[in-house]
């Protein structure tokens, strides 16, 4: 969706799915959005602000909403067109490709206006040009590109409205690594039924998280270790300290013990990136020894 807009020079405004009514309205009205893409689950929220978001003419959604909500949205204004993403694609499919070239963006065009999560009043829009985005991809690739191999896989679950996640996904595209989409609610085995959680189903080797996520994982590991009794606890602590001080032989033994912990994240996790806010040194050190190398972005 994003790339579709980009290739015809249309600017994308991003809004977090967690925004409240006022925040959403603000992010639609301030840049005078002509249309909006959303998920079926979010349509009721959109319906509430739509009468006041007078510039919107097109609503595109994915998923399967109830017919009544679609009718309600159409009833707001005569000029509003509501389409499923598949219908929208079919319209495009039937059209010739010759017009596309003329609409391609230039490097100084605005690619996106990213609205913040709005934790301090109305969300603020950050204007980002194509050259801004491309330069970020270039610089990260220069600094860290050689760490990536073609067998790496990336699990995406953070909001794309967050610039960190967005840049990382662009980089994955550039270097040709698959992006697997997950949901915050279904990451672990415990949060799904009759199937595996996103992490163990996808077995990513690269993950990006904000500090809160890593803190949760750290607590999860410690809780499991503590529940295992004194013997297990001593073994675990010994393994961690052996690894941390890189004592020969013992460090390898430690690896063997910690393999169990690593299996919980699919067993392939190799690089973790933390960003958005600073991660406490203690947590970074703990996870780097027990689980995976954590880089701060």
């Amino acid at each position: 969706m994003f790339h579709g807009c980009s290739s015809v020079s249309v600017t994308i405004a991003t809004a977090y799915d967690t925004l409240g009514e006022d925040g959403l309205l603000h992010s639609l009205n301030e840049p005078e959005c002509v249309g909006v893409f959303t998920n079926a689950e979010l349509l009721p929220m959109l319906l509430r602000v739509l009468p006041k978001a007078t510039t919107i003419k097109v609503v595109i959604y994915d998923g399967e909403p109830q017919q009544s909500i679609l009718d309600d949205i159409r009833a707001v204004r005569d000029t509003i067109k509501v389409l499923n993403i598949d219908e929208f694609r079919k319209i495009g499919q039937a059209l010739p490709t010759d017009g596309l070239q003329a609409h391609l963006p230039k490097k100084d065009d605005i690619a996106t206006i990213m609205y913040t999560s709005g934790s301090t009043g109305n969300p603020k829009g950050v204007i980002i040009s194509h050259s801004n985005l491309v330069a970020s991809v270039g610089s990260v690739h220069t600094l860290l590109g050689h760490h990536l191999t073609k067998d790496d896989t990336f699990l995406a679950y953070l909001p794309l409205a967050h610039v960190l996640e967005f840049i990382v996904e662009l980089i994955m595209f550039f270097v040709g690594l698959p992006i697997g989409y997950g949901r915050v609610k279904t990451l672990t085995d415990a949060s799904v039924r009759n199937c595996k959680g996103d992490i163990s189903a996808y077995r990513p080797s690269i993950m990006v998280g904000v500090p809160a996520v890593w803190e949760t994982i750290r607590k999860g590991i410690l809780a499991k270790v503590h529940a295992g009794g004194t013997m297990k606890k001593t073994l675990f602590n010994g393994a961690v300290s052996a690894k941390k001080n890189n004592i020969p032989i013992l460090a390898q033994l430690g690896d063997a013990i910690l393999a169990g912990v690593r299996a919980a994240t699919g067993g392939r996790l190799r690089i973790a990136l933390s960003g958005g806010a600073s991660l406490s040194q203690e947590t970074q050190q703990f996870l780097s020894t027990a689980l995976v190398t954590v880089l701060q972005g």
């Binding site: 694609r89 330069a135 190799r270």
Partner: protein, 146 residues
């Protein structure tokens, strides 16, 4: 587990170097990482200037390798749990419903599929009269459709 070991030892060289001297009292000099001291990186490759260029580059270079994976919701499983709550000093037991998803295995789209989808969406946008200067909002969860 594969270890993260750099295949370019000494890649960062001396670390950071002074780029320009301090501009005045109370300010330190500007420093830059040594490997890009003379030239800031503004693009990953010659010819890539926009996000669109990245999509076409990926389709050209990686073709039918997996680009994007996702899982469909097979069904929503509801479970009831009893939650103890203390209301006005009295302990009451409330029944709460929790929703859990049952998901399919990962399904994949390759780089050419992505480019096709992008092209279709672009043409549809043009047919709706959208062009440069217009703003389109994306208010959605992180998903492959976005």
């Amino acid at each position: 587990m594969t270890k993260v070991s750099t295949n370019k030892p000494g890649f960062y060289g001396v670390g950071s170097v002074e780029f320009s001297p301090s501009a005045g009292p109370g300010e330190g000099p500007v420093r830059r990482i040594a490997i890009t001291k003379d030239d800031l990186v503004t693009q990953p490759l010659e010819g890539i200037e926009t996000v669109y260029d990245i999509v076409s580059y990926a389709a050209r270079t990686y073709g039918n390798r997996n680009a994007i994976g996702w899982r469909d919701v097979v069904k929503v499983v509801e479970e009831e749990k009893e939650v103890k709550k203390i209301i006005d000093g009295k302990e009451t037991v409330e029944k709460k419903k929790w929703k859990f998803f049952e998901l399919s295995d990962y399904k994949y789209m390759n780089y050419i599929d992505v480019q096709t989808a992008v092209s279709e969406i672009s043409r549809a946008f043009i047919s709706f009269g959208l062009s440069k200067g217009d703003v389109f909002s994306v208010y959605a969860q992180t998903r492959y459709g976005v």
